[in-house]
């Protein structure tokens, strides 16, 4: 490593759920919590991609802050007192998951990702056993024009992982989001069929990072779409190369 590029990072001490922990100043609350075995639920966050703070599941309470803060983005500060699991937070997280399930058509039994879905697993983990909000049942299309992959918008939670991995890691920026509110939709190129996309390199990274069964490999029957954890590996490789 080039010595002049070596930045000195100071160390901070803070409390998570009453326990004293130390952290580097460039770490987020989520990083430090994970290091110390404290679980904070996340959906949109993925190691190696720029955090966007979209799903709001990782919100934590920080003493002295009027607002709840997203652990995936918020950097640590000295003497922070963080609570990750208060009654209010637990309630809000369940409500957010309920809102997600009610938004699109999540029919797990016929989904390629049944049993391997991060949304489903999160609901189980947080004890969401029924949805009180009326289902919105939007009519959404499936695009199977690509030779190897397909996108089923009925299962998308708009976490933007596909958008980020395609832009930041593959450098293709095939994916983006169109529309506003519940009419938002992930699209390829300027909303052209995926199979006709000229920017898509067919690398399949988006499929691998999609937390739900939205993006999948063709030919998989229900429950058959498992995903590789290649991003931590990718991050590691990039760090070593620097």
């Amino acid at each position: 490593m080039n010595p002049s590029a070596q930045k000195t990072l100071s160390v901070k001490t803070l409390q998570i759920n009453g326990k004293d922990v130390s952290a580097r100043e460039d770490q987020t609350i989520l990083d430090v919590a994970r290091e110390n075995g404290v679980f904070i639920p996340t959906l949109c966050n993925l190691d190696g991609l720029t955090p966007v703070g979209a799903c709001r599941l990782c919100l934590v309470e920080v003493k002295g802050s009027r607002r709840l803060l997203p652990a995936c983005i918020t950097q640590v500060q000295d003497n922070m007192e963080v609570s990750t699991n208060t009654e209010t937070l637990v309630k809000y997280r369940k409500m957010i998951l309920e809102l997600l399930f009610a938004e699109r058509n999540h029919v797990c039994s016929v989904c390629v990702s049944n049993g391997h879905c991060e949304l489903q697993a999160m609901a189980q983990k947080l004890g969401v056993d029924h949805i009180r909000y009326p289902y919105l049942y939007p009519k959404l299309a499936v695009d199977a024009s690509h030779d190897r992959f397909a996108v089923d918008h009925n299962r998308c939670i708009l976490c933007q992982r596909c958008v980020r991995v395609c832009d930041e890691i593959e450098g293709a920026h095939t994916w983006d989001v169109q529309g506003r509110g519940t009419a938002s939709l992930v699209i390829t190129d300027l909303n052209q069929p995926w199979g006709t996309s000229e920017s898509c390199t067919s690398c399949g990274k988006c499929v691998q990072v999609c937390p739900t069964g939205t993006l999948f490999e063709k030919g998989r029957a229900s429950g058959e779409m498992t995903k590789r954890e290649f991003l931590p590996y990718l991050t590691l490789m990039r760090e070593e190369r620097v």
Binding site: A54, L59, L68, P70, Y92, L136, G181, T182
Partner: protein
């Protein structure tokens, strides 16, 4: 441009003014143009020509005079006479009567409280100067603030005057402007930027549009002073494309200022250079949110990102960025000219200066008003606004648009400033003020604003995207008369989660209209739910609903 040249322009302009016996000022802002004030202006010019008065009389276009409902408005500069609802065929009579008694049937009474109770700082030139001529702005002390800042103050002194003035952001949140300027000035970065937020997306609000149309140079001058204070040399002004007239006037104004060297390199012979470019917004409400606006200027999808880091530290292209509202910048030139203390002397303890409101709804006088902070809502609505028309009863006043709340009668005597409005569950907001009488259904009002937030949510974060949709469905059930107590409980629960977990201000404040109407008009919700009845008679429930099927 040297200081002497600036003063010379002002002198020449004032001399020319003295040569003119009668100047007819025709409002050429969007409100009056929509009732064909351009035709009125044309025929006034023709009549002057016809009656051979070309040497002594002039017609000029000016900005908004405030009482837009009575447009097209025409004023006689020398006498202060004001004509309302002028039609092109009235031109001859007006011209013939110049220098005599004004035409009675067209006269608009300028001694009414609508005019006398206002205090104009931001709008001091609106309806007075020709917004298409920089010379007129200069003659009205324009660019003297910039001259003073550049030639006799250092950066810290400018920030200090702004801090002293007590000015707070007029874009909605009311953040102390001096503090923001100081932060950007201190932030480290090779390049810094100034952005003026002219997105103005609140339904019914047109304060910023009016300032941009009526007095664009004031905003440019404010931005240049800001650039000097924080150390930026490039400014962007973000205006929605739905404001074509404002965009045109701004672009013309920038060209004029550049031609005179009031923008560009080495302004007034100093080392300070500053350029301004216009950026057009495509009409998404969320693009008024500062981080979304910055993304949009960068050419990206207009979506907010979590703060911190705030734009003051990391903004446009990751550089420290000063972002202020149009009206905030418009307050700057007089603050520099007259000093911060002068400004701090107007208003209340915590709210200094004036605020421009777009007064609308169930009041006799609708239009644009500027009032000192601390004035009561009653004075605004019943004196300036002239009260409720048709003998109806006042019910509530809505401030702050989709992020604000409805204020009932018991608070009418409250002083208008940031803190007192917040205390009663509303916000100052950017200046929309909608008066409602007994014929408004408060549940319906809440539903209207929720629909707005639902369709304007950018869709990035879950609580705002899906929560507002679910809340809108529940409110629709209530107005249909099919809701239950459980539905109401669910609505309140959603208000809480959306407010506390959304990413940006849009989601965080989207529940406000519901929360505030539930607080003061819960009985109306109950009437819909339990008695299947809309007290105001707005919602079609039960039998009526069947009848219309």
């Amino acid at each position: 441009m040297t200081p002497e040249e600036l003063h010379k322009i002002a002198e020449t302009e004032l001399e020319a003014k003295q040569q003119t016996q009668h100047t007819l000022c025709v409002c050429m802002a969007a409100g009056c143009v929509s009732t064909h004030s351009d035709k009125v202006k044309e025929s006034l010019a023709q009549q002057i020509e016809k009656h051979g008065l070309k040497e002594t009389c002039k017609v000029k276009g000016v900005g908004c005079m405030g009482l837009c409902m009575a447009g097209p408005l025409v004023a006689v500069e020398q006498t202060g006479a004001l004509y309302q609802m002028v039609a092109p065929q009235d031109a001859e009579e007006i011209v013939k009567n110049l220098g005599k008694q004004p035409v009675k049937r067209l006269v608009c009474d300028t001694t009414q409280p609508f005019f006398t109770r206002q205090k104009k700082i931001v709008l001091e030139n609106s309806g007075v100067v020709d917004s298409e001529r920089i010379e007129e702005y200069i003659a009205a002390k324009g660019y003297e603030g910039l001259l003073e800042a550049l030639t006799s103050m250092n950066q810290a002194e400018v920030v200090e005057q702004v801090s002293k003035s007590g000015l707070r952001g007029r874009g909605g949140a009311g953040f102390p402007t001096g503090l923001k300027w100081g932060t950007v000035a201190k932030a480290r970065g090779e390049r810094k930027f100034v952005i003026c937020n002219g997105d103005e997306g609140d339904p019914g609000a047109f304060m910023d549009r009016s300032v941009l149309e009526s007095d664009p140079h004031r905003v440019l001058e404010g931005m240049a002073i800001g650039g000097y204070a924080v150390g930026a040399s490039q400014g962007y002004i973000y205006v929605r494309a739905e404001y074509p007239l404002a965009v045109k006037r701004l672009k013309d104004a920038i060209k004029q200022a550049e031609r005179l060297g009031l923008l560009g390199h080495n302004i007034f012979g100093t080392t300070f250079s500053f350029n301004i470019e216009v950026r057009l917004g495509a009409g998404a409400f969320v693009c008024g949110e500062e981080t979304a606006l910055i993304a949009s200027v960068e050419g990206k999808r207009g979506q907010p990102r979590p703060r911190p880091p705030f734009p003051a530290e990391r903004g446009l292209w990751d550089c420290p960025t000063l972002i202020n509202n149009v009206e905030t910048f418009a307050n700057i030139p007089p603050i520099i000219r007259n000093g911060g203390e002068w400004f701090a002397g107007i208003g209340t303890e915590k709210g200094k200066g004036t605020k421009v409101f777009a007064l609308a709804g169930a009041v006799k006088n609708t239009g644009l008003i500027e009032v000192p902070m601390g004035i009561s809502l009653r004075e605004i609505i019943f004196e300036i606004g002239g009260g409720i028309p048709d003998g109806k009863k006042f019910k509530a006043v809505q401030t702050g648009g989709p992020s604000g709340g409805c204020i009932p009668e018991q608070f009418l005597d409250m002083q208008v400033d940031y803190d007192s409005l917040a205390k009663v569950g509303s916000i100052m907001g950017s200046g929309g003020m909608i008066v409602m009488d007994e014929t408004s259904c408060m549940v319906d009002v809440a539903k209207f604003f929720m629909e707005f937030c639902m369709t304007e949510s950018c869709g990035k974060c879950v609580p705002c995207r899906v929560g507002t949709k679910q809340m809108h469905e529940l409110l629709s059930k209530i107005t249909d008369g099919t809701a239950t107590d459980e539905n109401l409980a669910m609505l309140e629960e959603l208000c809480d989660v959306v407010k506390n977990t959304s990413l940006c201000g849009l989601g965080m404040t989207a529940p406000n209209p519901v929360v505030s109407t539930l607080r003061y008009f819960r009985d109306e919700y109950m009437a819909h739910i339990h008695d299947h009845r809309c007290p105001a008679g707005v919602c079609k429930i039960g039998k009526e609903q069947l009848a219309t099927v």
